[in-house]
Assembly symmetry: D2
Homo-oligomer: 501 residues x 4
């Protein structure tokens, strides 16, 4: 509504009331202006009314929403389904242009603003989360793995002779595949066991670099967030090695933004040595749907080079999700989530420890892993792999999601490469174990239900082991309105589930 509309409104109802409403609107506009001017995440989250007004304003700046537009191109932002148009707030043109995913589209000023603002907000949050000297970043609507691939493809143009990527082993398929897809040969560096922890073998890294020759190495590809008992790589030391040999360094920081420890490692690595890019998942760190990643780095020009490698326009959907989320939370809301996660990690840790001890098992001592925990499954292991798998299956059918049982000696071939002891990040970890993680958004109730159900499953599996009987324990979660999960799901227990990743 413009000045004339308000004047007309004043004639219809009382001028005093319309003016009051008009003044009130200025508060919303003020927030939008601040956002556009500063490009920072507001401290306090926005109301839905401000947020939707902002998205509407962006949308009407895109040509598909021009009332007088006539489109004679091959891509005009026409939408067949009203449901689809509406779920995207009529922002249809995506982000970027054919040459550059960060570029501005003439047809879509609103979507272009959305893209710029989102990247700016995300940069602000990365700084706040522990990497204050990050220089540039952008949201890309691809998985973390595919985003790593894009980084490697960009590096190829700078290092035409390189064929290898040095990679401290982490047993997660997409990490490995990100290198294979980019056309490089991963050089797997086995981890070393320090206490219960699996840590980076720095000597082996350096030895392999020398052996292959620095020029034939595209980059070192290290990892922060990972399942215990593996712990984040020794980033500082790796960064120094990279600096010394003039080798690029790409960090897979998949769900590390939520942990100040992971972020600190990156900041330190960049300070003392070399980190070219670090890549993180949107969904795992910002509680949005799966599908986006952030590529960030300390050299503005290099990050721009990567953004120019994406051929074509891209989906704005992940950007829109993270924008809505950050504006809703505000930086204070996001910080609160980080704080709560840390507390939840301590709580999960103490509860799991108690349960482990009660079962004559042990919580593995992995102080360097700030997110994931592991509890031994020695008692089950004695009876071979079957019981371990059954435990996983039982947890799954009892609606425990994300718990991960790891038996020993599992051999898997990924893209032609044979991994012994797959899933355990090691050829021969000493014992079978179970993983649980405290990720952003976890609630006390998650921990309590998990501990309760795990306890029962362990008891059931052991009883079956001893008696080879099949009678399940009685269960009552006490969760309101919940049909008894135990009874209904037992029939699924013998199904073999592939929950490997």
């Amino acid at each position: 509504m413009n000045r004339d509309a308000f004047a007309a409104g004043e004639r219809l109802v009382s001028p005093a009331y319309v003016r009051q409403g008009c003044e009130a609107r200025r508060s919303h506009e003020h927030l939008v202006r601040q956002l556009l001017e500063k490009g920072k995440c507001p401290e306090d989250g926005w109301d839905e009314s401000t947020l939707e007004l902002f998205l509407h304003e962006l949308a009407v700046m895109d040509s598909n929403n021009f009332l007088g537009n006539c489109g004679v191109g091959e891509r005009e932002g026409r939408v067949a389904s009203a449901l689809v148009a509406r779920r995207h707030y009529r922002l249809i043109h995506g982000i970027g242009r054919s040459g550059d995913i960060s570029a501005v589209q003439p047809k879509a000023a609103g979507s272009s603003l959305l893209n710029k603002i989102t990247n700016s907000l995300v940069l602000d949050i990365l700084k706040l989360a522990g990497v204050p000297t990050v220089a540039n970043c952008f949201v890309v609507p691809m998985a973390t793995g595919m985003s790593l691939t894009l980084c490697f493809l960009t590096l190829r143009h700078k290092r035409p002779k390189a064929k290898y990527i040095i990679w401290p082993r982490i047993d997660q398929k997409s990490c490995f595949k990100s290198m294979i897809t980019a056309g490089f040969e991963p050089v797997v560096i086995e981890n070393v066991l320090e206490g219960d922890e699996l840590r980076t073998d720095l000597q082996a890294v350096e030895a392999r670099i020398r052996e292959l020759g620095p020029d034939s190495v595209l980059c070192v590809h290290s990892t922060t967030s990972c399942f215990a008992p593996r712990v984040p790589d020794k980033l500082e030391e790796l960064a120094v090695i990279c600096a010394n040999y003039g080798i690029p360094h790409v960090v897979n920081n998949a769900y590390g933004v939520q942990s100040s420890k992971c972020m600190h490692l990156i900041q330190q690595g960049a300070r003392v040595g070399r980190i070219d890019a670090f890549v993180q998942s949107l969904d795992k760190n910002f509680m949005v749907p799966v599908g986006g990643a952030i590529i960030a780095g300390f050299n503005d020009a290099f990050i721009q080079e990567i953004s120019k490698m994406y051929p074509g326009r891209a989906s704005a959907s992940p950007s829109l999700d993270v924008l809505i989320t950050l504006l809703t939370l505000g930086s204070n809301g996001y910080k609160k989530l980080l704080k709560e996660r840390k507390e939840m990690f301590l709580y999960l840790s103490s509860q799991l420890k108690k349960l482990a001890e009660a079962c004559s098992e042990r919580l593995l001592h992995t102080p360097h892993n700030p997110i994931s925990l592991a509890m031994t499954l020695k008692m089950l292991d004695a009876r071979h792999d079957k019981a371990v798998t059954q435990l996983g299956s039982m947890l799954f059918t009892r609606q425990v999601s994300g718990a991960r049982v790891v038996s020993l000696g599992f051999v898997q071939t990924v893209s032609g490469h044979i991994f012994r002891g797959f899933m355990s990040h090691s050829n021969d970890y000493p014992c079978a174990y179970l993983n649980a993680a405290a990720a952003i958004g976890m609630k006390t109730q998650d921990v309590d239900l998990f501990i309760k159900r795990l306890d029962k499953c362990l008891k059931t599996v052991r009883k079956e082991q001893s008696k080879e009987s099949d009678v399940p324990a009685v269960d009552n979660d006490g969760k309101t309105g919940n049909v008894d999960i135990e009874e209904t799901t037992l029939k699924l227990d013998n199904v073999l589930l592939d929950t490997s990743s």
Copy 2:
């Protein structure tokens, strides 16, 4: 977004593109301004983007959406559920004030504008639909019947001695109850049979007025839209009688806006005689959910008096529905719907006639009824009432909704008053019949499916009559994705359904 926000936007993306977007926004604003200035239904319907922007703008003018508001009253527009807030576009304060449903609320400039604009648009549409001299109207979130009650309650204050309401019979409970609830005694005027039609008995009306004395008569309560073979009352003549005797005249125009004939009757009545108010349903005329009515009249002051009789604030929901609908359709869209309805009436009429003749029945000749049709059920009648009822039940279970079978001799007591031949508007209509209507929004497909299913049901009922057998006819509607309605529903056929109104 204001000037400063746009300036900031220009720095983020290109000034040329932002300015283009900004110009484009003016088109939306222009439509809003025109609406507020002229208060008329736009000819062309609005895009959803303009519509939602407008509703958002209204919402931010209400105090519950002020970012800095603090509420210390007993009614502050707080909403517990986000789903609820959002389905009302955050317009929470309703319409009107304690003294007057058309009054402006200081706390809610946006909702007040919504109320004013809606009433203004609806007035525009009433004019366009055939009553150009209507002076004022307002939307009230009550049923047509309850709205009529409000009119009668208003008249009471002007005619303290009146006890009776003269009412040409129409067999629809809420019409009758509207008078009872208001505390008056309906004086039922039986209709006279002219050909197949049931028409107003003007002599009886006048005789009763004289008999009771004009001062003891609150008003004449006439009806336009009704089920055939009753036809709209002779409004012109009734209006003249009212004028002559100084008696108010209230017209129940329930679903008459959709018919130019009904509207014309009202216009003529007001021209030659007296019509104080006419009341119409929102849902039946504007394709919105049930729950609102329009009270309209030719004397601005009297309509205002009625609006001041509603004690308290009222739901804005029906007003919002009709506002969205009219802005989406535009006056051209609404006119198109009216035109299509007229065509559909002719189509239904011809198809039903064909079917009737093929079954040795007859389409009753009711040329004065522009919406409803009736086909005799003589063949069934011979076997008494049971077969007629069964036909109704069968149609219902075969997903024919709105068809209405009327057997003879049904006696019903409504609020203490005994109606013989209830549902047929007459003590002794010559034959049983079936009603079908062509209402706004009806499609060819509705007619075709109805005729097909009716044909089958009639055949089945007759076969059963002759054989007392129970075998249903095979059916295949050919409607994609539709399970065979016949088979699945036959088991319900013997259920007695109360589909009387």
Copy 3:
């Protein structure tokens, strides 16, 4: 999805996973079943996913959503605008039938269920809120005032000779109008001053009943929730008087459900004497949009009689809002809101007391009013009415909503009846004052902002009084993102606002 669909799904993805999903769905279904079987508000609120699934399930049971339906009636639930259909979850047919707002509609099993369930849940909540012996209730899509009118109209049929309603004075227009609209003559009983409180004059009530004769009295119309210094009527004593004289008793409990004290009064009144119906607002007690009320009582048959007085189908919108809200909150959530309100009342009370004392004013001692407070404005009063009005205006423009300033000696004519000292519930209350209330949903922030702004406004007004100058005090709310309300709104300060009710 039915059994066959799941089987097909199992072939597309893994049977184990589909079965898991299928089992999970049972939890949602279980909640729905419990709701329908018990008709009680669930203790824990539902997830949005369960809620929307439920609403969708209801919708597909209405004939307008039947895929094979053909409609040949005058009201088929067709909707022109997709936006409208969607905001009502495609529940279009409203509630009730022409004869009865609580009746079931053959065409709309889903909407009928919605209606029944909502009334059942609301009854459950009334019990929980302090009236355990309530027998029946129903939601009606009308304002509290209009709902009271409906009660009076129903009573008229039981007491044909009655002309008067005994009404302890409360200065709220719609209460008064509810009687006028129903066609009765209110007999105003002035309140008596007990300390600071204005309380029911029981002697006067009884005297007037005797004077007029019990048969000529339709009912006693009493009030619970009201603005201090008036306090809830002496319901127990009034109920006993009504029982003794055989006079019906209707209680206006507008926003009393939120206060256990108000509810307790009703329960006690019904226990020791006679209460026929009590009426409460939906929006003020359940944090939903304006537009609905609950009519409740202790005699099932009488409440049904009232529901049968509403002529026509009614809007389902208020029922839908309260259903969504109660299912989202659960009874625990609602109880929590009640508890927080009580705490907020104490907080507001203490803060306002402090401020009053700092300004040489006084918080009126009104211990019987559990919701509203009043603080004297003696200092302003000395300078006549203008300053009081200006204070109201200033608070309004500073986005303090709901604060109510009451000057003395204001005379208002409502529907022909002259009220001296209007707004103060008394012909001659000793001093001017300001009202603030602690209503459900109020937050600490509301109180703090209010106290801060009130403090400043008082200082400004006094300074102006002493100097007749016009310089406003500097203000800084410290609210993030809020433009400085003081500066922008001062220009509106001299506008005279009608915030009387």
Copy 4:
């Protein structure tokens, strides 16, 4: 709602009505079952009610919506913003697993079904659109260019020695970049001029293959849809060459699904020769937001290999969009869109021809291009490039989007490669020209407005050329509610716009 819930419902309202509603639900379920069983696009589009019920059913099968779920993994589908959850229908887990974008997720049976069904529907539509023998396809949430890159990266593993990609020139940056990003060297084959058309130089292709050696060639990368006067590549002949030399063949079919001619070329190519994969945009062919592509092919195994190259889980958003769209349209709806596009192409063609002739220009004769047209700009060209650019700028500011002006002699370097005559697909096309295309969803109104505005712009530019004056022509589009675009936008005309792609 399950059996018990319905039974409870029958007790609340009438059994007959609930059963009717229950039967009606079966029709919706029937459609869902058919979809899951057949995996084909339904002929008739679904109602929104069926569609949303289906999406809700899918969502409750995902673990993030399990009521009793406890999540202890690093990725649990938690969503911080209710707005975000709701716009994705609570389908949060994305599609695919770390190893394979087509794989099933144990945690998310619903999302997995969504993925499978979408790919199945899209395959059905590709067949219907003209490639009946297509064997497999999948939706990938990446731009067409990035999807081509993924194809090339997959081929790398099969052809380790290959370094080159044979590419008949098309001046669209992302096509070129798709090869660069994948790390290959594009071998640009200049087009040959046949009449006005630019066509594939088959001799040159074959010559280059021989010259480089087939083993060093990764693939031939051809194009169907393109801007006139370039026309679709000679796919049949290229496919034969590829078959003969054992070279893979990847087709960029960006917006070719909408044209039966493009699709036929692919079908024929595969029949007579070799096509390994063809890639098309989702947004350009299916009227959904930018962001997805379909990778399809004739060899099931190869398409699966490509899907296994995407490392990580991917956004389900583009899949969801196309699923909603196809279910809403039905195959009949999609066919209707294709038919209308063809008609619109003829209309645009005739109108543009008329205009061209009236201006002494010429519509280039490009019969092999079924989507794009080109009209000469000889008159402007005479005065050098400036006028051509100004025309583009003027059209843009007058809200003509997608029109593309091409001047001659423009040199551009893309990723180190120099293109002479960039944008014209040729080093030295004979004249400057303007492009317009008839894409899916275009309306008569688009064509009419375009022709009108183009006409005026041409006149203005010429006038300025002759007089070097600056006075704009008066304009009146006659579009309701549209502010006069001419006046408001002229001030932007001198802005130089980069609308190259």
